[in-house]
């Protein structure tokens, strides 16, 4: 049985990308296989673990629960958009300094959720509780991720004051 396909056009990490996809293709497969953006990982495929989190029109979504066709005409941001050239973003640097990752498999999803939270002006309490609470990490025990969030949010506050 041949699956139906659709042509989609999206802006991914600032670039116009397009492709013909089967309508049943999840967004994760489109990003990873069609566009080669393998930084987004698949942990559960049922929307619980958060590893697949990307931003669609600035909102954090589980890409495993979206179909690729749903991003037609929209803007998608993945972890590959965070670092400027080879330099880690401030949030990535905070995670590095606080040892907020071990195997790294869940990390991209957490970074994207926090990126949306930062843009939305979330408080550090919301970031460490509600936002981080949507992610499963099997390695770190979360303590250092919370420390990285506090470090980064504190630097945002002092940048604002400056």
């Amino acid at each position: 049985m041949k699956a139906e396909t659709r042509m989609i056009n999206a802006v991914v990490n600032g670039q116009h990308r397009s492709g013909e996809v089967e309508v049943r293709t999840p967004l994760t497969d489109f990003l990873r296989a069609s566009l080669g953006l393998v930084g987004t990982h698949v942990g559960c495929e049922h929307g619980v673990c958060g590893a697949c989190t990307v931003l669609v029109d600035g909102q954090a979504v589980r890409s495993c629960l979206m179909l690729a066709v749903q991003v037609d005409g929209r803007e998608v941001e993945t972890v590959e958009s965070l670092a400027e050239d080879e330099e880690l973003s401030a949030l990535q640097q905070a995670m590095h300094e606080q040892h907020g990752l071990q195997c790294g498999f869940c990390t991209a999803g957490i970074l994207m959720s926090l990126t949306a939270a930062e843009r939305d002006g979330a408080s550090v309490e919301d970031a460490t509780c509600d936002v981080l609470g949507g992610h499963v990490c099997r390695c770190t025990g979360y303590q250092n991720i919370r420390a990285a969030i506090r470090q980064h949010w504190a630097s945002l506050a002092s940048n604002e004051e400056a």
């Binding site: 590959e80 880690l88 040892h99």
Partner: protein, 787 residues
């Protein structure tokens, strides 16, 4: 960054070398690999728990669009050799497992493989494979499998018992000790079945080159060489025809400590098709296909004299092996017995095991490997003894603990404890572990709990492994090479899996050689490059045994560098110092030469002493003299809501000793991560089957993993008693967080609600389990505010 006097790198919290790539999304896990002509495989698994496959029809699957290959159980079995078990108990009834079989022992057992152009077409094909089953009666509980009328997985055995074992002092002497003891505490304790759940599931990309008749397999594995050896054996290839390139797993924790049947079938498919084939386990599949862990029932006793001195301890274990013995088989249950004594003195101690087959996923290795279970059993018994005798549980422990002057001490369970101060770790935690609020506050009760353990690390002397039937050698071999440009390559047989070993080994080499760590590269995982390691990264051995080999290899290279520098600078070797990539003569400014220049000369074989070999590299094999024993005490403060059964962790303290800490930040990360898994065992996780052997916890809506809200901030204090055996003084550390944490939490809950303390014998302590205990104890009868 913390610093250690005189050390540039060892003892320093160097930031991890692999972080930037991981943070940017530039790492390559197995599913990130792709080849232009790559195909995709789906594994067909049994939907029933106990059955014979009476008919297989591949034709409907072969007709599916995009499907290129369908191999059923008969084709797979005919083309492969069974996988040997690795840790074999004396008299073990089954010591190898066919990759496929028409005899089904558990839901999820692999039966066939379908390969298609896309993952979707392979999955469509898998749905179309027709299998007819003659179903058989099912048994999932290990104790039930011992009953005389239990369904038999192997009728010709006449039993479901796969192996039986006794460990420790002679049983008669143990029973005499119990019979004459003043007090005996006895409990039936259970450690539930766990599904390991690294965030990256298993997977493999297999590429058979028909021209060169060579197989390359990219795997998410802890054990590259071990996987390669077993792949070759199963596929009937010569070892030189197989190359494994291990990608650092996105978590492993023991579940990826061997090659699985399904992974081998993917390689077989590639051999048939002459094209690369990828298979990635999905999460629902992982919950039944990757080996489970724990699932042990202990009938355990502690005997004390009238003064509270520990006279004896014993446990009768019924261990659930699952449908087949796994690679490690009885191993975890066996370690539960050998590590049962923990840090205490006993007149007599021992255990007995019946390891039983049931219609469940095979059980294998998981962080803590039998020690977590032993600690649950022992520390709960000790707390129950303290409660029944009306004595303080910390005092009872101190009274019976081995002190530093008692070590070295060989237990009756054959463990030569090396060095440490167990009572000091306990005292430090006891001093700070306090309830974080009023003892009673509405429906909330607060309490604290403590647990102490000794941990077997740094597997191990090869002689010992041979003695106990563990078919893996214990040595590690490391190559340290200063390249012609002065940079350093370190090769080792251990494997990175998120535990930071790449950084740690680089620190060791950089420290020895006086070369900046930015110029040190650690290469792991490729069996064509890495020195042979049959054990790989298991059993908390990568930094101990692997690191020990790197230290010695780097020392030897340093000695040669010093000799070359002395020759070049016309100085005495004792006066040469190495730092920052330069060799200097102490006290003579200007008398220096770069390591890069010395290395270039060495590799050219120009102007080096007559008696020196060209080059600047050393391979050292380290086979440890003994196991290294780390230890810790954990303390936790809990708030238990009697109305809801909810347990909140309000404080957590650790005092831990694993000798020299090469990177304190990474070490603390391992402890905290290990504790998180212990919290999962204590409060949340549990894989369950229905009476028909159908898995009930098949998604993350049923199988609950710890989230950030479940983990308080953990306070870690360290003691440092260097290992007497390992060059560099490091002991193993990876599992220590998981081992005592469930026991500390159980003790805290029992302390908070002593009315139900005698029922705190089984994990997880979920709200519904605790609520039932509270209800049956009458705690919901009166107005809660009055209590």
């Amino acid at each position: 960054m913390t610093t250690v006097e005189g050390n540039r790198y060892v003892g320093v919290s160097v930031l991890r070398v692999d972080d930037p790539q991981l943070l940017r999304g530039g790492a390559r896990f197995v599913d990130d690999l792709t080849f232009p002509d790559m195909m995709h495989a789906t594994i067909v698994r049994s939907p029933v728990a106990h059955a014979n496959v009476v008919a297989v029809d591949r034709a409907p699957a072969q007709r599916e669009e995009g499907v290129s290959l369908v191999l059923g159980p008969d084709e797979c079995a005919a083309a492969t050799n069974p996988l040997p078990c690795v840790w074999i108990a004396p008299g073990q009834r089954q010591t190898e497992v066919p990759l496929t079989s028409r005899s089904v022992h558990y839901v999820g057992q692999p039966l066939a493989i379908v390969v298609g152009e896309t993952r979707a077409s392979a999955e469509d094909g898998a749905d179309a494979v027709m299998l007819d089953f003659e179903q058989l009666p099912v048994v999932t509980d290990a104790e039930a499998a011992l009953a005389p009328d239990a369904p038999l997985l192997n009728p010709d055995w006449g039993t479901n018992v796969c192996a039986e074992l006794e460990v420790g002092d002679p049983r008669e002497e143990i029973e005499d000790a119990f019979a004459s003891a003043a007090y005996v505490v006895r409990r039936r304790l259970r450690i539930q079945r766990i599904a390991v759940n690294p965030m990256e599931t298993r997977g493999i990309v297999a590429r058979w080159d028909p021209g060169t008749e060579h197989l390359t397999a990219w795997m998410s594995t802890q054990v590259p060489h071990h996987a390669r050896d077993h792949l070759a054996h199963a596929l009937r290839l010569r070892i030189d025809q197989v190359r494994v390139i291990a990608r650092p797993p996105g978590g492993a924790f023991g579940a990826k400590d061997h090659v699985y049947a399904d992974e081998i079938l993917v390689c077989l498919a590639s051999m048939r098709l002459g094209r690369p084939v990828k298979w990635i386990e999905d999460r629902v599949e992982h919950l039944v296909a990757t080996f489970h862990a724990r699932d042990a029932l202990h009938d355990a006793r502690l005997a004390l004299d009238e003064n509270g001195r520990f006279v004896a301890m014993h446990t009768d274990i019924v261990g659930n092996l699952g449908g087949y013995p796994s690679n490690v088989g009885t191993g975890p249950f066996r370690i539960s017995m050998t590590m049962l004594p923990g840090p205490y003195r006993f007149d007599r101690v021992g255990g007995s095991l019946r390891a039983v087959l049931t219609n469940t996923t095979p059980t294998g290795a998981y962080r803590g490997f039998g020690m977590q279970e032993a600690t649950w059993v022992r520390e709960r018994l000790i707390d129950e003894a303290a409660r029944e005798l009306g004595v303080d549980p910390t005092e009872l422990r101190l009274q019976n603990m081995l002190g530093p002057s008692d070590l070295p001490h060989t237990t009756a369970t054959y463990q030569p404890y090396d060095s440490g101060d167990y009572p000091e770790a306990l005292r430090r935690v006891a001093n700070v572990c306090r309830p974080q609020g009023p003892h009673r506050e509405g429906s909330v009760r607060r309490g604290t709990g403590i647990a102490s353990h000794v941990e077997f690390t740094g597997l191990g002397p090869t002689k010992m492994q041979k003695l106990v039937g563990f078919h893996l050698s214990g040595y590690e071999r490391a190559t340290v090479r200063v390249e012609p440009d002065g940079s350093v390559t370190v090769s080792s047989g251990v494997m990175g899996m998120g535990q930071g070993i790449e950084t740690g080994l680089a620190q060791l080499a950089a420290e020895q050689l006086g070369i900046p760590i930015e110029r040190v590269r650690v290469r792991l995982g490729d069996t064509d490059v890495a020195p042979y390691s049959s054990a790989g990264s298991i059993a908390s051995r990568s930094m101990t045994v692997g690191g020990g080999a790197v230290v010695r290899a780097a020392e030897i290279v340093r000695e040669k560098l010093v000799r070359l520098a002395a020759h070049h600078l016309e100085a005495a070797a004792e006066d040469v110092e190495l730092a920052d990539g330069t060799a200097r003569v102490r006290g003579v400014p200007g008398a220096d030469v770069s390591v890069a220049h010395l290395a270039e000369q060495a590799w050219l074989n120009w102007d080096i002493p007559e008696d020196e070999e060209p080059g600047l590299e050393e391979t050292f094999t380290h086979d440890p003299d003994s196991i290294s024993y780390s230890y810790a005490t954990h303390g936790v403060a809990v708030a238990v809501d009697v109305e809801t059964g909810e347990v909140r962790l309000e404080g957590y303290w650790v005092c831990h000793d694993s000798g020299v800490l090469v990177n304190p930040m990474i070490c603390d990360g391992q402890i905290v991560g290990g504790i998180a898994q212990g919290v999962g065992i204590a409060l949340l996780e549990g894989f369950r089957y229905g009476p028909d052997g159908q898995p009930l916890t098949t998604t993350y809506l049923d199988y609950l993993l710890p989230l950030s809200e479940d983990l308080p901030t953990i306070d870690i204090d360290h003691l440092c008693t260097p290992s007497p055996f390992i060059p560099g003084g490091m002991k193993g550390l990876g599992e220590g967080g998981t081992i005592p944490s469930p026991a500390a939490i159980g003790n805290a809950v029992a302390n908070a609600v002593p009315e139900i303390a005698d029922r705190i014998v089984e994990t997880p302590l979920t709200p519904d389990r605790l609520w039932t205990y509270f209800h049956e104890a009458g705690l919901h009868d009166a107005d809660l505010d009055d209590q």
